[in-house]
Symmetry: C2
Subunit: 294 residues, 2 copies
């Protein structure tokens, strides 16, 4: 299978559907849609929707079925970035080589654009579930709400914020990684599996795969902050060291961290290999993520 080709196709589908959802059908609230669209179409990797599509296609072929949930995942991810970039949080002026939302629209609008995307994600997913009338859709939405919420992503962001400028122990670092990053990656895979009619064993496998991929993804991020290429990354490197941020490389060193990423990815591959050809895309994708340069 050609990973590049499949990946591009998935991204195209997701982008087309996001266009439909975010086409400005606002009147007086036009600027809200402008701000939401700006960040949605600022060049994200679409990792979460692609994972949802990849998992879904291990079990079922009707792409359109999973699309509203794939888009919902991306909207929630994007809202978290908009709020994360605010001066009161990470205070980032650039993301993916473009000015962050609040630099373009101002802080007030950026806060509302984030709120809007989170709320809109639930709105479009619920609308779809009400039309298609199967409890699995509600299970998928609930899964996403848990992963994105106070015991998931938002909890991770809070602890990350509290840990700024402090030395933290590995337990706290794992809490941040698991909640801030892995939980939405787990949810993406599980949602694809739930909507694809995978069984409970499949869903459990996705929990492990997502946990490993999420942690590997985050450690790779921290490695790239040390050895990465600023231009390819679209953001400054060396910022973790400058901010004395505790990361896997800073605690365990670069070699250990690289090995950890390989180990986690190997475990993912072992599970996915049992699914035969259907899992080839996700296997190649996880290998690609392990070695990514951006």
């Amino acid at each position: 299978m050609d990973l590049q080709h499949q990946f591009k196709e998935y991204i195209q589908w997701v982008n087309n559907k996001l266009e439909v959802y975010l086409t400005n059908n606002g009147t007086k609230n036009k600027q809200l849609f402008d701000a939401m669209s700006y960040s949605i179409f600022a060049g994200g990797k679409r990792l979460r929707p692609v994972l949802a599509l990849g998992a879904y296609h291990m079990f079922k072929d009707d792409t359109q079925e999973v699309m509203p949930y794939a888009c919902g995942l991306e909207m929630i991810h994007t809202y978290s970035l908009i709020h994360d970039d605010l001066p009161a949080m990470d205070d980032d002026d650039f993301r993916r080589n473009k000015p962050t939302n609040h630099k373009v629209f101002g802080e007030g609008v950026a806060i509302l654009a984030g709120d809007g995307l989170l709320n809109y994600a639930f709105e479009i997913m619920l609308a779809d579930a009400l039309i298609n009338k199967n409890v699995k859709y509600y299970n998928a939405i609930y899964e996403i709400s848990r992963a994105a919420g106070v015991h998931g992503m938002i909890g991770g962001q809070l602890v990350d914020l509290e840990s700024e400028g402090k030395t933290i122990d590995i337990e706290t670092l794992d809490y941040i990684h698991f909640n801030k990053t892995a939980s939405m990656i787990i949810a993406s895979l599980k949602v694809g599996t739930i909507i694809g009619d995978g069984n409970q064993n499949d869903i459990n496998n996705m929990e492990i795969i997502g946990k490993n991929l999420g942690l590997a993804f985050q450690i790779r991020d921290d490695i790239l902050d040390i050895i990465g290429n600023q231009e390819m990354l679209g953001k400054d490197i060396g910022s973790d060291q400058q901010n004395e941020k505790s990361t896997y490389p800073s605690i365990y060193g670069l070699e250990y961290s690289k090995n950890k990423v390989m180990e986690l990815t190997q475990e993912v591959d072992d599970i996915l290999s049992k699914y035969g050809e259907k899992a080839l895309f996700l296997r190649e994708l996880s290998l690609f993520l392990m070695e990514r340069e951006y």
Copy 2:
């Protein structure tokens, strides 16, 4: 019927249930629950959950059934206040005589506490719906998501933010009032009616009642900003005039505005009076709101 007594009982039920949801079961994310609880228990009027309960009891008696949705409405209302008070938005230091969330916890935590309450509202409502397995619960959640969203409350906040320091026309003012305030009041009444198994005609009636109450509520707010008692209101008065904010009193004058509130409330009373004794609570409540001093 004793309005005061019933009102207090409703508030007690809502507070008890909110306590259950917000009891700090966090570990490392403890501060998130602290910040969410702080604003939830900062003395809100609980108008939206009370309206949901009042509407529900016009049709059905089993209070517990509607409670997760009543609490979800209050969480969403509270998140909107936390974000509205931020320096980038209304920049308010006090609300109900207490320091606003960001003054106590800092802006970053306040942003996350708002995000957390919005997300948590969907989480608890979905969890309840998945247990009780009836499509009406999902209809109720969808109704709330629409009312709170980009074509509802958040849209209204955006236009309100854009209008700051500008003279706006009555059409824009109505847009703000309808979306920022009335839409969640309409949703509260409709959710109570949907879960109480009211029919489509009842739901349509609630749409009109909510629209009138919402507009009347907002105009009364603006009247109180001129003639109100600072201590009773728990916030500064005269701020609209100081900020040259366009309001019903500033555009139409005080007398016209007072009459408009009476007119809107009368229409509500006409509809509710058709429901006989069951509607007494909502009728008294709307009269009380018309004359409220805080």
